[in-house]
């Protein structure tokens, strides 16, 4: 049976989820030879409301760029949960930020509260929340291989900042593994 996996990262514009999505895409395409398509939502939404970036992964051809039945949704804000939780399929996962999301949605999918923002704050920079997300998604996604994501991550960060990014990734990865 064909492998088809759909990931959506969503949240406010203050956290660069597009970067996390690019890294996840490159980890698959560059380091693992999988077909992957990334769909980014810019426009007014990217100016403050729910930012969305979709990743469709397959070992076969991809006809549609936009994720529909999402297997893994990350939501860093309540608004992102409210808007996109309905797109998660029954077997899917919803990872929400532990502090900014207060109401968990109804659904048959599994929900985990992960301290994305607090974890990044502990590392001294809330902007690293996207990399904490990256770690957690890597821990959960059957499409991703940790080594490949780490390689793609390090290729995408400025020289001299590799360690702090690695630490953020590690934090997200371990938090997720502890919960599973």
């Amino acid at each position: 049976m064909a492998f088809y996996y759909q990931i959506r990262l969503s949240g406010g514009a203050e956290i660069d989820l597009h970067l996390a999505s690019k890294i996840l895409a490159e980890a698959l395409a560059v380091y693992e030879d999988k077909n992957v398509v990334q769909h980014i939502s810019y426009g007014p939404e990217a100016r403050g409301a729910a930012v969305r970036t979709d990743l469709v992964v397959s070992d076969q051809e991809i006809y549609r760029p936009k994720a529909q039945e999402v297997d893994l949704l990350v939501a860093l804000s309540q608004e992102a949960v409210d808007r996109y939780a309905g797109d998660v399929n029954d077997q899917g996962y919803l990872l929400v930020d532990g502090t900014s999301v207060r109401r968990s949605p109804e659904g048959r999918f599994r929900v985990y509260k992960v301290p994305f923002l607090d974890g990044a704050r502990e590392l001294g920079d809330v902007r690293l929340a996207n990399i904490v997300v990256l770690g957690s998604v890597t821990a959960l996604s059957p499409a991703h291989n940790r080594r490949a994501v780490e390689d793609a991550l390090l290729a995408r960060v400025p020289p001299g900042t590799e360690e702090i990014h690695r630490a953020a990734f590690e934090l997200g990865f371990n938090k997720m593994k502890e919960m599973l």
Binding site: A29, V30, V36, V37, H39, Y42, G48, A49, P65, P158
Partner: protein, 980 residues
């Protein structure tokens, strides 16, 4: 061979970590590729380690020697990586060699960008073609055209659009495009299908029909239109590309013969974007060349392209053309070109050497080091203690400022163009035949252009020629039957979600002119609809904060127009938390403004209006009292150094207004009465002192001499100001002079008269005690002595004024003199007479209260503030206390007469409650001492009473007021029985 690969790794070592992607592909494939080329006898035909001579041919050979299928892509990817790295290594070397001291940096940058742009786009396009050749199999694909729609020098992504004639067989093509996209991501630069994401989200390829529909429904989507204007054919069916140009893109040019509304929509959208970017603030921790300047420049160039019909998309080419077409803008276009060269090279080098990101972070030492490498590569050198990155940043901000100044001028020119060509002009020139016709035509235009950001000229048009168009529209609306009116309003409501700013501007325009153009009903209906719709935003507080961040004055104008209930509703709407850090300050300021608009009485709002009129930036500070204090101190400092007395007086007035507003906000935020009084007195005394100086300086010239106040003249505050009570509606002053020099007395009077004129402007009436007795503002001490010697029956009133007076301008020597010559002999030494007079006065006042005074008058009722003041004056006279401050007086009495200590403390607390109640009532309801408890819910809210039912908090305030005044009356009786 490995030696060459190692050498390549070494040379590419200075590039960003992203280079590892290419090196990995090369390392995995290059040996195999070399062997294959050698086996085929074609090794000499392909440049693996040098720049290609003929990319097309060399890639063909690489594809030819590769096995079928996926291996072919790997070989091509390896070759692409080699050429990509070699191209950049060479370009950087050439750049370094070029930017030697003495060389024209701009020329070197220009050459670099031209060369790298041409090489990179050729490399990408050739690679894409070869990959497509390899990917397209026997499947039947519809005709398609791939277009580049962005700048092909962007290394982060390549913006492309894929056009098909219709939607037939599109899935097969989507499959190929999906594979192509994966290949590009893996081996080259990822594709970004921005156009299809917006126009046909379910498909990579977009049909012409979909473009048609989008163009008709999104006329102001300037990002999509800008990409379309950039379109260049890269691959596929040229006929389809031509159709895209002819059927879709062409309509945006002014000279195309198409309906001009498309051109106008694009111009309005792009102009709004350019203005908004050109006026945004820098963030402290980052620079973003794309948003700070590049988009501004490109938007303006695109606008000019559509105005002048320049079909060629290349921005450099268009800047040159514009120099010919608009010779009057030659210098401005030069600034744009020079700026663009600088920002583009910075962006390119940053992405190549540091990280593929548009945002350049500045707040860590590591990032500073990274930026230093970029700066060095583009020719900035260390100068003493200043690093290359610092010089670069100075140049950066300077360049952004220059571009923005020019952008502002050019934007005005475009505005002028809109003023003479807009479709809205037809509304003024045509005469509608049927009721509602004008309204329908206007609504149609607004609906079509609703998403665009620039409307200034349309609003000007509405109010031009004595509001002709606005009046006509409102008349048209009013002429419709009620159900039609409701329908029109509901049609308009759809705008709120699509462009809340536009809707609010319309509301403000209607509100501000409602009486003049008979738009009261329309305004009320639209406002109700607006609030209903605004409430349905996911987070109305965030939307409002967005609006406020962009248009603070607009929000203030809106809140000035709405009624109290609307202000309350809006305040509730914006009370939700806003999570976006960059919006938090705006959200907080907006909450502060709403609070002021809702809680603020007309008295307080008068100061708000005065402040915002001159200092609109204060809108951002309403929630930050420290920042407001800093601002007002800045104004006071400026007043001190401004040379002209008139300028000083104006600034002092501003200082007073701002400080009163600040202390008002502080009080509404729950500050203690002591804090409110202290801060109020501090600024009010400063104001009076500085004002006195400015006025005597002004009059010194006229009179040829100075009032030397420090020796002979003093200003005393009397009444509330003397007791250091805040928020008085008048300013009781006593001006004394210790000189018989008539000229000096005249000069002193002139100074006080000039001060009075200024104090009146602050909305307070200055009252001069003794004026009625002496007929002059300035009273000589000698005459005052004579006055009291006469022992007038009612002089206890004047004595009271003096007894509670407080020196504001003057010296302690003068004060001692006044004490010895007036207070001591006529008040303290005759305390029994004074106390008896005061007690009689209190008794007769209380006897008359039922007839004369209103029971709810916080000042005059039995047990009200006046009774407390009189009791305190009696105590002052009894114990010889000159200190004006109530708390000090009561403490002083408590010390010398502990028997009354308990009552005095309780009296003080009661006074604080009543005074606070009076202050809050003045700030939140109106400047009146008669308390109307039916409107006191808001006062109760500020004072911390609870209860949801309407009238509940007001009822509690009333009960507390009655309780306190009854208690005060009893306490005064008890205190006076003991003391007097």
């Amino acid at each position: 061979m490995p030696r060459r690969f190692d050498k390549l790794c070494e040379l590419a070592g200075e590039f960003s970590n992203y280079t590892s992607k290419y090196l990995q592909q090369i390392g995995a494939v290059v040996d195999e590729l070399t062997t294959r080329l050698e086996q085929a006898g074609l090794r000499d035909e392909v440049h693996l380690w040098q720049p290609a001579w003929n990319l097309e041919r060399e890639m063909d050979i690489v594809a030819h020697v590769a096995p079928e299928g996926h291996e072919r892509i790997r070989y091509l990817g390896c070759y692409y990586g080699l050429q990509y790295l070699r191209m950049n290594i060479q370009a950087i070397e050439a750049l370094r060699a070029g930017v030697v001291p003495g060389a024209s940096r701009e020329e070197v940058y220009r050459e670099f960008l031209t060369n790298i742009g041409a090489s990179y786009s050729q490399l990408v396009v050739t690679f894409m073609r070869k990959v497509l050749d390899a990917l397209v199999g026997p499947e039947e694909l519809p005709p398609f055209a791939i277009c580049g729609v962005g700048t092909l020098t962007d290394q982060d992504d390549i913006d492309i659009a894929v056009v098909v004639a219709d939607e037939e067989n599109r899935n097969a093509l989507n499959s190929v495009l999906g594979r192509l996209s994966s290949v590009m991501l893996r081996y080259a630069t990822r594709f970004h299908f921005y156009l299809s994401e917006n126009v046909s989200p379910e498909s990579f390829a977009t049909s012409l029909a979909e473009y048609h529909e989008y163009a008709d429904t999104h006329p102001g989507d300037y990002i999509v239109i800008s990409e379309l204007l950039n379109a260049e054919p890269l691959y596929g069916d040229r006929g389809l590309f031509d159709r895209l140009q002819k059927e879709i893109v062409e309509r945006y040019y002014a000279d195309s013969g198409a309906d001009k509304i498309y051109h106008e929509g694009f111009v309005r959208g792009a102009l709004g974007d350019a203005i908004s970017l050109a006026t945004r603030d820098f963030e402290n921790d980052r620079i973003v060349p794309k948003d700070d300047a590049i988009r501004v420049i490109k938007s303006l160039v695109h606008i000019k392209r559509t105005i002048h019909g320049l079909r060629e998309p290349n921005v450099w080419h268009n800047l040159k053309r514009l120099a010919d077409i608009e010779p009057w803008n030659a210098e401005k276009n030069d600034v744009l070109e020079t700026g663009l060269i600088f920002f583009e090279i910075l962006r390119y080098l940053y992405q190549l050497l540091v990280v593929q990101d548009e945002v350049i972070i500045l707040d860590t030492p590591v990032m500073a080091e990274n930026l230093a490498r970029v700066a060095a590569a583009i020719g900035y050198r260390e100068r003493g203690a200043v690093g290359p990155e610092e010089t670069l940043l100075v140049h950066y901000y300077d360049s952004v400022d220059k571009v923005r100044t020019v952008a502002d001028d050019l934007a005005r020119e475009v505005e002028e163009n809109l003023r003479t060509s807009s479709a809205f002009l037809n509304l003024v020139s045509t005469s509608p035949q049927l009721p509602g016709q004008l309204l329908s035509a206007t609504l149609k235009l607004i609906r079509f252009l609703v998403k665009v950001a620039f409307w200034d000229d349309v609003f000007e048009l509405l109010v031009a020629s004595d509001k002709k168009l606005l009046r006509a529209l409102v008349t048209d609306f009013n002429s419709l039957p009620p159900d039609s009116r409701e329908r029109r309003v509901n049609e308009l409501v759809g705008l709120v979600k699509r462009n809340a700013e536009l809707f609010m501007k319309l509301l403000v325009l209607l509100g501000e002119n409602r009486d003049e153009v008979d738009a009261r009903e329309l305004f009320d209906a639209m406002n109700a609809a607006f609030l209903r719709e605004f409430e349905t935003f996911y987070n109305p507080a965030r939307e409002a904060a967005h609006l406020f961040a962009k248009q603070p004055v607009l929000l203030n104008r809106y809140l000035s127009e709405v009624d109290h209930e609307t202000a309350k509703r809006f305040m509730e709407l914006v009370s939700r938390e806003v999570a976006i850090p960059s919006l938090k300050p705006a959200a907080a300021s907006l909450r502060g403004l709403c609070k002021l608009r809702y809680y603020g009485s007309a008295y307080l709002r008068r100061y708000l209006q005065a402040v915002l009129k001159k200092y609109p930036d204060c809108l951002y500070l309403l929630d930050d009292l420290d920042a407001l204090a800093e601002k007002s101190q800045g104004i006071l400092a400026e007043a001190a150094i401004v040379p002209s007395p008139a300028g000083k007086k104006e600034l002092l007035g501003d200082y007073y207004d701002l400080e009163l507003l600040r202390i008002g906000l502080m009080t509404l935020n729950g500050a203690t009465i002591e804090e409110t009084n202290a801060r109020y007195t501090e600024f009010s005394d400063d104001y009076l002192n500085f004002l006195f100086d400015a006025c005597r300086e002004e009059l010194a010239e006229e009179y040829g001499r100075w009032v030397t106040s420090f020796d002979v003249m003093a200003i005393y505050a009397a009444g509330g100001h003397a007791r250091e009570w805040a928020f008085n509606d008048d300013y009781d002053l006593i001006v004394l002079i210790d000189s018989e020099d008539e000229k000096l007395q005249e000069l002193g009077g002139a100074v006080i008269s000039a001060m009075s004129a200024e104090i009146c402007k602050r909305g307070m009436m200055p009252h001069y005690r003794f004026l009625e007795h002496f007929g002059s503002y300035v009273i000589p001490l000698s005459q005052l002595e004579k006055f009291f010697r006469r022992e007038n029956e009612t002089d206890f009133i004047e004595k009271s004024q003096l007894l509670e007076s407080r020196l504001v301008v003057g010296t302690s020597t003068f004060e001692e003199d006044t004490h010895e010559r007036i207070i001591k002999p006529f008040v303290f030494n005759r305390a029994d007479k004074y106390i008896a007079d005061m007690k009689n006065e209190m008794a007769s006042r209380q006897g008359a209260v039922g007839d004369v005074f209103l029971p709810n008058n916080v000042k005059e009722c039995v047990g009200g503030l006046r009774d407390i003041v009189m009791a305190i004056l009696i105590c002052k006279a009894r114990f010889g206390i000159r200190d004006p401050l109530t708390s000090h007086i009561l403490e002083g009495i408590g010390r010398v007469y502990p028997q009354a200590g308990l009552e005095l403390r309780s009296l003080y607390n009661s006074m604080c409650f009543l005074k606070n109640l009076r202050d809050v009532y003045r700030l939140a309801v109106c400047l009146d001492d008669n308390l109307d408890f039916e409107h006191a819910d808001i006062v109760g809210e500020v004072l911390g009473f609870e209860g949801d039912a309407p009238g509940e908090k007001g009822r509690q305030v009333k009960e507390a007021f009655e309780r306190t005044t009854a208690k005060v009356a009893a306490e005064i009786k008890s205190v006076l029985a003991k003391v007097a």
